[in-house]
Amino acid sequence: MDFANLAAQLNTGVILPEGIVLVTLMVVLVGDLITGRASSSRWSPYVGIAGLLAAIVALYFQWTTTTNPISFLGAFNGDALSIVFRGIVALSCAITLLITARYVEQSGTALPEFIVILLTATLGGMFLSGANELVMIFVSLETLSISSYLLTGYMKRDPRSNEASLKYLLIGAASSAIFLYGVSLVYGLSGGETRLSAITTSIVANNGEQSLGVVVALVFVIAGIAFKIAAVPFHQWTPDVYEGSPTPVVAFLSVGSKAAGFALAVRLLVSAFPMVSEQWRFVLTALAILSMVLGNVVALAQTSMKRMLAYSSIAQAGFVMIGLIIGTDAGYASMVFYLLVYLFMNLGGFACVILFTLRTGTDEITEYSGLYQKDPLLTLCLSICLLSLGGIPPLAGFFAKIYLFWAGWQSGAYTLVLLGLVTSVISIYYYIRVVKMMVVKEPEEMSDAVKNYPEIDWKLPGMRPLQVGLVVCLVATSLAGILSNPLFTLANNSVLRTPLLTPATIAPPASGTALLDQPSIHSSNSTLGG
């Protein structure tokens, strides 16, 4: 194999977005060394955001002109699904960077290093979304995980942060080990194949249709993935880690890291375990039911906003899993759509929590009472985002949930959908509790924190980006429901154009029904929404 031949086979253009993120990371790192802390903490967030936006633009160009998605001799797959998931991870990091600057600065820690580690986590998540080979999956998973552990413990003088980081590290290391064991079993069963596309044929050729080994490997692999997406019963780390980490990190973990986990779940389960697909659907159904019930019920009892959002994110992961379990085109598309909407509403919620914390120094839910009189913008944004998370009609979250449940109902997953409906009703209670606390209270019932609310000053360093992030999430959450057509098309196309998910794309019936699905969901939306 000569060099020119090898270079042509590598097809390196596919990882251009990741390359841009990597260059941004190096620029922030080296620029911080050259210019010093004081000046670099001013420009580094903007450089990071610019780099991530450039990566998203590069992803857009790949979306329009994908010819050969396989690169690095099968290690990386840049198909439409991976492009969407990489976009979600990069976008969540960009919004997180917007809301980060003021928070990190106020806590007296170094901002450029924080950004570097966050960008590395993003890089890991982006590679994970397209990883097409077992070694690549593991290395990118570790890149994502280890940077997350570091970010969690970034407030190093705070015992809560230390505890969160240690807990995350230990549980994460254990789950990585279990995942690795499962992956090594897959490697052995397939007679030494690491590429996902080759594993199935090889296992079937060697072992026949099913064997105990495949099932054991499957269970171990699911345990590793479920830890990443925080599904019950692999969720024990979530509340403590969310409470003890810096809030921007929580925002990234709950959206970016989770999206990467779902991308891994789709790719690994669909392409490497089709022969035990009933079994993995069954296991995931159990996980989804447990996540929806436990996440929503335990969230009712929380007094801290961050803990409440932690349990809510567990429950949301349960909802998203419905789309993965039913495994139809509409199911995958609704999953992608839900994640896109969830990105904006959840990050918007966290932006509000960060802003309130910065101004009052607390995140107790009771301290939010009477906030409406002092800060209408914050109240509006937090209310919209929480109501959208709960699925109240004209907001984006409602349409995402309706699409998901509709797709589930179409493919006959009645139990899951009914349970999802019941638990969303429960979830509305605890979201509305916060809204009621902020809006309804009389002035004399105002909490101490709100009574001493400081003057609203957007001129402080780092406040402007936070405001921009807040408004972007607010607009996206309120309009993405009504004007959801571009997002719907994006989600549907990402599934239809991925050869992995639609092996029967060439056959006319499959694509025909998928095209027919789109208008029908729109009409159902408009009737229900109106």
């Binding site: 001799l73 890991g124 407030m155 809560r160 080994g213 961050k306």
Partner: protein, 201 residues
């Protein structure tokens, strides 16, 4: 059975006994220093297994990385945290131990059954032996190029993270004196810790 087979069998038995005994010691001994040294023994016997499997390079890497780096790091960690503390004995401690033992035995039985029931494919390609390094190097620069390069990013980030965690930061009081604003909370979360319910009463 010729002489080579006999030697292999005997050394396998010795290595397996050594590894199992040391691993049990790691888990069961109460003194953590013994556990750490026994862990080193487990790693060494594992590298012996690799030599029996004709994988000399992996064996060398195992000794260098696990015994030389990981285990020594664990020992350093134990020595730095040399804190003696007498814990109050827990009631019904045998119950937890019995449950753990049962779970471990169950898992072992499951994995054992799985290994025996699966028709493993045995590779017919001749073992690389001493050429393993060349083969590994070729893989690193062809089909495993991307993970290999990504690992370098991972290591860079781990190094930055370690420095961030370990370095001495500028004390926030000094920062406050410099520009006269309110002193930022010293490397802590801006949220106040929650009051425990018992503390309120």
């Amino acid at each position: 059975m010729n002489l080579a087979d006999g030697v292999q069998l005997v050394s396998f038995a010795v290595l397996a006994a050594m590894m199992l005994g040391a691993a049990l010691g790691v888990v069961l001994l109460a003194n953590i220093v013994y556990s750490a040294f026994l862990l080193g023994l487990v790693f060494v016997s594992m590298s012996g297994m690799y030599i029996l499997l004709n994988a000399g390079f992996v064996a060398a890497a195992q000794v260098l990385i696990y015994v030389g780096a990981v285990n020594v790091l664990i020992l350093f960690g134990i020595m730095l945290v040399n804190k003696r503390e007498d814990f109050a004995p827990v009631k019904n401690v045998w119950l937890g131990r019995a449950a753990t033992g049962a779970v471990c035995l169950g898992l072992f039985a499951l994995l054992g059954t799985m290994i025996l029931a699966t028709p493993w494919v045995i590779s017919i390609a001749p073992p690389a032996g001493d050429d393993a390094m060349v083969v590994i190097g070729k893989h690193f620069f062809s089909d495993f190029l991307l993970p290999f390069e990504l690992a370098s990013v991972l290591l860079l980030m781990a190094m930055i993270g370690a420095i961030v965690l370990a370095r001495r930061d500028l004390l926030p009081d000094e920062l406050a004196d410099q520009d006269g604003r309110e002193p930022p909370v010293a490397l802590k979360l801006p949220e106040r810790p929650r009051e425990l319910i018992s503390g309120k009463k």
